[in-house]
């Protein structure tokens, strides 16, 4: 088990007890050694994610074998690892799209998908789960924009339907968000009239429309042509300085190095190791991490 907290004070006592001393010191240095001045501006007070010993099986295959991870408010965690390692499944348990078989997840101390009654965790009613989800934006690999709605209509759908905001207010905010991702002039275009990169930027605006504490990105650039990857990464990069907690599953190692506070390497349903980008990319402790990076990072890449 591996537990990482980029800021020492954010760790729960239960996790701290489990932690090896070496990891604690690595975590403590994360905030100071990260050479990104933008991180210092973050005034985040919400969006603490704590994943504790989460297990999940699909049939006979155990996809998550007891995963624990903490991300502090405003933190940026990037999860990397070979396909089939459980990265996406872990991400999907955070907004209860995937039910866990064991363990639990809290956001700002509130259990996700369950409530305590007596000494049992009872699954919440659909209504309450949906309400929790409005705090957690999600961006999918395949965009999943609603093709029958325009870009703006995609963005304002959830604020109107799930948060019961007025249409005028939602439109105003929607246009601001589209402006933020550089697509204000395409507000009336349908998804099929947009390029892949533009579609993913609309999807990010859609996730932001609920003012989430946390944003989950499930391989946001994997379905894009190489020349479109950067326009999406630039938007995520900008979000990383905004105080929203980001958890990103990606294969873009350069992006992970630039933006992450914490890089988490997963393999075979477990977190093999995690730490600052410098630690993970330059001095991986585990052989599995080293062999993975030697395959995915071209020789010229040097940190």
């Amino acid at each position: 088990m591996s537990t990482i907290a980029a800021r020492k004070e954010s760790k729960t006592t239960a996790q701290a007890a489990d932690e090896a001393p070496a990891e604690t010191s690595a975590a403590a240095s994360a905030g100071t050694t990260a050479a990104r001045p933008a991180t210092a501006d973050r005034q985040a007070t919400r969006g603490q994610v704590d994943i504790t010993n989460v297990r999940k099986s699909f049939g006979a295959t155990e996809v998550l074998k007891g995963v624990s991870l903490s991300v502090p408010p405003g933190g940026v965690a990037v999860i990397v690892g070979p396909s089939g390692s459980g990265k996406s499944t872990l991400l999907r348990t955070i907004n209860h799209l995937e039910k866990v078989d064991g363990g639990y997840i809290t956001i700002d101390g509130e259990l996700v998908g369950y409530e305590v009654r007596g000494n049992k965790l009872h699954e919440l009613r659909e209504k309450d789960i949906l309400k929790q989800r409005t705090n957690i934006g999600m961006v999918f690999q395949s965009f999943n924009l609603f093709p029958h709605l325009t870009a703006l209509e995609n963005v304002i759908e959830a604020p109107i339907v799930a948060q019961k905001r007025s249409k005028a207010e939602a439109r105003k905010r929607g246009l601001e968000l589209l402006d933020r991702v550089g697509l204000k002039d395409r507000a009336d275009a349908y998804p099929r009239q947009l390029s892949g990169g533009q579609q993913q930027r609309v999807a990010i605006a859609r996730a932001l429309a609920l003012d989430p504490k946390i944003l989950l990105f499930d391989e946001p650039t994997s379905a894009l042509d190489p020349e479109l990857v950067n326009e999406v990464l630039d938007v995520i990069r900008e979000l990383a300085t905004s105080g929203t907690t980001l958890i990103v599953v990606t294969h873009e190692m350069g992006f992970a190095r630039d933006v992450a506070d914490t890089v988490v390497f997963m393999d075979d349903g477990l977190i093999v190791e995690s730490g600052t980008p410098q630690d993970i990319f330059a001095n991986p402790r585990e052989e599995r991490t080293r062999s993975f990076f030697s395959k995915v990072i071209e020789p010229a890449f040097n940190i």
Partner: protein
């Protein structure tokens, strides 16, 4: 002019002549013309015979086409189509949702319903409903296994010809439309539901605002097929001596012996209804194709307007250019 320089091997290969001033001539398709002429001749021959053969008795057709009794029959046909069409699709929608639900009981009830009503001839269903009084003398509404009755009536008074017709057509229609709607819902990508649910959109709105509008594209062509089938399918309720369009013309030709002209009257009305429905279908499908095609094609009306705008309105200035 081409900006590309001729290759360096110009002395070995002959230089390419400049064709830029040549006129382009499209390929000729002589057989297409032969085919067109043959088909045109065939169409002309059919039209000629329709006009000149006195046995079609167009005068009789015209005389009965708008006769009060025929129009009354037409109204009944439209009424049956509308009621059983709407009820059939509503029930079909419920059956489709049952079939897609997680409850094994709901799934099997829905499956059995479709199985029974799709495997029985509509004629049998209609006669069965009409003769329900033979099987069950009274129909009552109450609490099962007790003597409490809120309502009770003779089956024969309750199931009129109209009720039997609506019942038969509705249940039959529901069985088919359930499958059409289910197919439409299945055609929508699972990621759409996932995205909607990640955005906190409640289940009902996920279905009505996200899934159904997209499913409609797959549902509509089949649904209109069904409705058009239903329009003509209503003619089968003549077995209940219900005075819809087809039964009405039968009554008339039994009296006047003008069989073919009166069948033609009914046929022409069915053609009119189907044509109107086809226009509706075009525009409704167009509405739901928003976002599915990059650019919506022009409607016939828009095409006509564009044609007039470019050809008729612009023609005086054409010479000036």
């Amino acid at each position: 002019m081409s900006a590309i320089a001729p290759p360096a091997t110009a002395d070995t290969a002959p230089p390419t002549p400049d064709y830029s001033e040549y006129k382009l001539v499209p390929a000729r398709h002589p057989w297409r013309w032969v085919g067109t002429v043959v088909v045109a001749a065939g169409v002309a021959a059919i039209a000629w015979s329709l006009v000149t053969n006195p046995r079609w008795e167009w005068g009789v057709v015209a005389q009965w086409f708008t006769a009060q009794s025929v129009v009354n029959g037409l109204v009944e046909t439209l009424k049956l189509t509308a009621i059983s069409g709407v009820l059939g699709f509503v029930l079909g929608f419920i059956l489709a949702l049952m079939r897609l639900s997680a409850s094994p009981l709901l799934v099997s009830v829905s499956w059995t319903f479709s199985w029974i009503f799709r495997s029985t001839p509509l004629l049998v269903q209609l006669l069965l409903w009409y003769n329900l009084g033979y099987l069950y003398e009274k129909i009552s509404l109450g609490i099962p296994f007790t003597d409490v009755r809120f309502f009770e009536a003779q089956t024969t008074t309750l199931i009129s010809q109209f009720a039997a017709a609506v019942l038969g057509l509705t249940l039959n229609q529901a069985a088919y439309s359930a499958e059409i709607i289910r197919g439409g819902i299945l055609s929508v990508d699972q990621g759409q539901l996932e995205a909607a649910s990640a955005l906190g959109i409640p289940a009902w709105q996920r279905n009505t605002r996200i899934v159904l509008p997209q499913a409609m594209r797959a549902i509509l062509p089949n649904a209109f097929n069904e409705i058009i089938g239903l329009v003509k399918g209503t003619s089968i309720v003549y077995v209940l001596a219900y005075s819809e369009l087809f039964y009405t013309v039968q009554v008339i030709y039994n009296r006047t012996q003008q069989v073919l002209p009166l069948l033609l009257v009914a046929t022409l009305w069915y053609v009119v209804i189907t044509s109107v429905l086809s226009v509706f279908q075009y525009y409704i499908e167009r509405h739901f194709s928003k976002g599915a095609v990059r650019n919506l094609p022009l409607t016939p009306l828009q095409k006509a307007r564009k044609f007039f705008a470019t050809h008729v309105a612009a023609s005086p200035t054409k010479d000036a250019r």
